[in-house]
Amino acid sequence: MDVWFVISNTIVLACIYGTLAIGVSITWSSLGFLNLAYGFIFAFSGYGAWLFAQHVSTFGPAVLACGILSGALGGVFVCALAFIPIHDKPNFTIRGLIATLAINLIGTQSLLWWFGPRSKNLPEIFGTWKLSFSGVTLTADRVGNVITSVLMLLLVLRWMRSSRRGLEIRAMMMNPHAASIVGIGVRRTSFYVMAITGALAGLAAVLLSQTYYISPFGGLTPMIKAVSIALCGGLGSVQGAVIAAVVLGLNEALTTVSIGGRYVLITQFLMIILILLVRPRGIAGILDRAREA
C-alpha cells in the first residue's frame, strides 16, 4: 500500500467533501433548512462551467469562477423557490426537505433533458504540470484542488468573521429568535447564505470534475456524502465538518486501495454509524437548543 497515495488522496477528498459539507452545515444551522437540492446546484454549476468552457474561454481560473458563480446563482434560485415561500409556515423543516428534494429531482431531469445523458468533461483548469520530490509525484489537479478549496474556505470563513453580513449569518446560526429581535431579516440573510453555500457547491463541482465527469446525476453522491459528513461533524459546526471530512476522506482513500472503490459507500456509512453511536451530536455537535425546542 502506497502511504503517499493514501495521504494525498485523503487530503484531496477531504478538501472537496469538506467544502460541500460546510455548505450544508451553514445552511442547516442558520436557516434550519436541509438543502436537498444541493446535488442539483452541484450539477447545475458543473454545466455552467462547461458551457463557459465550450463557448467563451477555456482559461482555467475563468472556468472555475464561472462554476462558482453558477453555483451561487443556483443557490439563490433554490432559496427563492423553496425557502422564501414556506420559511414561516408551520412544519417548515419537513416542507423544506420535500421542496428541495422536488427541486433536485425536477432540476436533474431538466438537465438530463437539456444536455442529454452523455457526460461532459471540463478542460484541465490547473494545467498539466507535475511536482515530484523524493519519489512522490503530485499532479497539477491535486495541488490545485487543495489550494483552491482551502483558499475559498478561508475566504468564506474570514468574510463570516469580519463582515457585517457574516455577523448576521453567525448570529442567526446561534440564535434565530434573538437574531430577529436585533433586526436581522431572515429573508434577506437567507439569500446571502444560499448564495455562499451555492458558491461552495459550485467550487466543489468544478474541482471534482477534474477527476470525474459532469453528468446530470453527478451531484447525487457528493450531496449524500456532504450531508452525512455534515451530520457526522455535528450540524452547525465548521470545525466539526472539517474533521469529519478528513476522517471520511481517509476512509475513502483507504477503502479504495485495500478492498476497492465500489465498497466506499458501505464503509463510509458504517463509519458514520460508528461515529454517531459514540457521539450522537456529531464530532463537534453543539447543543442546538434553538432548534430542538
Binding site: 446561534m174 434573538a178 429581535i181 436585533v182 431572515v186
Partner: protein, 255 residues
Amino acid sequence: MNIIQQDLSQAAHAPLQRREMLKLSGLSAGYGPMRVIHDLDLIVSSGERIGIVGLNGHGKSTLFYAIAGLTGWQRGSIKLNGLEIGRTRSQGPGRYTHQIVRAGLALIPQGDEIFHGLTVEEHLDSGAFTPRSWRERQERKERILQIFPPLKKLMAVPVGRLSGGERRMVSIGRGLMGEASLFLVDEPSLGLAPKIGKNVIDALMALDLGSSAMVIAEQNVSLLEGRVDRILGMHVGKLKGEASAALMLHDHGRA
C-alpha cells in the same frame, strides 16, 4: 417594506415634542388557540418611562412580543411613532420583526436571548443594524461602556462564558446600540442578585431618553417605585389602569 420606510422618513421630519411614541388600541395576541392579551389599550408618550408590573404568566412578555410581531397571532392597532406596525395576522411570527426593529423598536427580551458564541464586541455590533448606527458603532460602544464599565475588559470574550449579570448588561447594551424610539425592557432584574439587579435598573434610569420612551416590565415593584413616570398593573392579559406602587403592593398582599 417600502410603506414602512416612507412613513419612517415622514416621522423623522415631525417636530421634536411630546408625542405618542406608542399607541396600542384593541390589541389582542396569543399563541395558537391561547389568547394571552385581551383588547388592550395603551399610550406611551415620548420622554416617558413606564413600569408594567404583574405576576408571571399574566402577559407582560407577550405584550412586548406582540409589539415586536413575535407572537403566534395578533390583531388590533399598534402605532410606533405614528407608524402603524400592527396587523391582523395568524402566522409568520417574526417575519416583520426586523422591519419593526428598523422602524425604531428596541426589545430587550427576558432571558437575554444572547448569541453564545459571539464576543461581547460582536454582540454590541449586532445591535447596530441601521446604516447610521453601524457607521457610528465605535462611539455607541464607547457610550455603552460608560454605562456598563465592567464590559470594558470583556470585549473579546464569548458571551457564553459570562455570568448572568454580565449577560444582562450585554443584552441591554445591545438594545441601546441602535436608534430606537421605544425601548421595551423585559424583567431586567430577573435572576440577578438583588444588588446587581438594582445596578441594572439604576443604569436604565440614568439613561438619557431624549425624545424616545421606555417601558419596563418588572415583578419587583419596589425597584421601580418613585422612579418611573407611571406604573401600570397587568392582570390576565389586561392593563389594570394606573396604579401607584403602594396600591400595587397592597393588591399583592405584601404591604
